[in-house]
Each structure stands twice: as C-alpha cells, then as structure tokens.
Amino acid sequence: MLKILLAFVVGGLICVVGQLLMDLTRSSITPAHILVGFVTGGVLLSALGLYQPLVDLAGAGATIPLSGFGHSLAQGAIKAVEEKGLLGAFSGGIESTAVGVAAAVTFGYAFAVLFNPRS
C-alpha cells in the first residue's frame, strides 16, 4: 500500500514540475519541449546517480514519467559500457528501451490506422 502511495506522490510531483515549467515560463514552451526536456533531464540525473534512489523509493512513480525513460537510456548505456566497452555506449541505451520504443511505434501505428479523430 505504501508503495502505491509513494508512486502516486512522487509521480504526481514530477508532473507538477512540468506544469510549473509550462505555466511560469515563456508561452512558446510546447508539450514537445517538455517531453524532450524530461527525457534529457532524466538521462543526466541518472548518469549522476540521482535518479536510481527515486526509482527505489517510488517504483512506477519514477519510471512511468518520461524522465524514467531517460533513466533507462542512461543505465542501459552505462551497463553496456561495463560489459562491451565503447561499443556499449551506442547500443546500451536503445537496447534497454527497445520494448517501450517498439511498443510505441507499433501500437501507435496500429491505433492511428484503426481509429479516426473524433472532434
């Protein structure tokens, strides 16, 4: 139960950071800027070892926000470097996020073809 509560609070707070970025900065900040910012931010925090504690604490609360996607990119790259050397820097990130990316492309394509815009 505590785990679920923590996922709720941490995940919610990460989203609040994004909302503040959108509301308090220039109006030219679009959702695309937010998503790119969160992924790159996640990669950097993870590389500095600051994101793993958050994942240990909140589970999905830290992995479901897109910064978690950045975290798995970074951890993948670092692990692969340990195993394969320099080559791992290029393969590790994509390998560890392959499921998410392939799912996004495949399901995205399928639903885009299957459905039509409502409004």
Partner: protein, 158 residues
C-alpha cells in the same frame, strides 16, 4: 550621418513603444490558474503512475525480473495511452491534467498517435509514417544522443 542618427533614434522609439505595449498586454492578459493547474497535474499524473505501479506489481508477481517487468509495464502503458487517444479520450484527460497527462509515458504515446491519426488522409508514408514522429522524433533524438554521450564519458572515466 544625420540620416543614420535619425534611423537609430527611430529604432529606439519603436523599441520603447513595443516595450510599452508588451507591458500593457501583460497587464490585461488573463492569468493561468497555476495552483489549480498544479493540483490537477498532480492528481492526474499520480493516478497514471499508480496504474503503472499496479501493472508493475502484477508482472513481478507473475515471476518476471524487475527490469523485465518495468519494460513490459512501459509497453502496457504505451498501449493504454495509444488506445485512449484512438477512442478520443486522451485529449479530454489532457485538457484537465495538463502536464500530468503529458509527462507520463502514456502522454508520449498520445503524442505519437494524435498526429499520425490526423494526417492519415495525407497517405501512409508522409502522413501516418512521418507524422508518427512529430514529437517522438525529437524525444528519441535528444534522449539517444545524451545517453550515448553519457556512455562515452563513462567509458573515458573508467
């Protein structure tokens, strides 16, 4: 020389007029309700993460390893986000939740399906195929580049 000076003065006057107008616009502009937006982002974003946590726990209880379960959870959430976009529900969630619906990976799926679906009439190559990556493209580009850099730096520091 006189003409040049005139130009500069004119430019300065125009700049000050624009600045004055910018302040006027700021003063009449309706303000975002930042507090309400943040509360809604918190609730919607938190709820999506809880749904993710429930899936994660379920997959782990089925005997998956932690990393594997996390990947399958991400895939499941992407499926849900894409499906809700297809049936026209996710944009309604977005109106309420703001960043709370954009930042979770379901929002990433939404940003993939929405343009692809809407540009279907422009064909399957330059419509669906290309528009699928309107937002996902930049996300992957910058995510992958930074992770490669992180890997390279880690290699050099080893």
């Amino acid at each position: 020389m006189v003409a040049v000076k005139g130009n500069i003065e004119q430019q300065q006057e125009q700049e000050s007029q624009r600045e004055e107008y910018r302040l006027l616009v700021e003063s009449v502009k309706p303000q975002h309700n930042v507090l309400k937006n943040c509360v809604m982002a918190f609730l919607v974003g938190g709820t999506i993460c809880v749904i993710g946590q429930l899936f994660l726990d379920f997959f782990i209880s089925q005997g998956m390893g932690e990393r594997e379960a996390a990947a399958v959870t991400a895939g499941t959430m992407v499926f849900l986000g894409a499906f809700l976009t297809g049936i026209g529900v996710y944009d309604q969630i977005g109106k309420i939740g703001g960043a709370g619906s954009i930042i979770p990976i379901t929002g990433f799926a939404n940003s993939i399906v929405a343009p692809a679906m809407e540009f279907k009439r422009e064909g399957f190559l330059f419509g669906v195929g290309a528009k699928l990556f309107t937002v996902a493209g930049p996300v992957l580009v910058y995510g992958i580049i930074t992770s490669c850099l992180v890997g390279i730096i880690y290699y050099l520091l080893q």
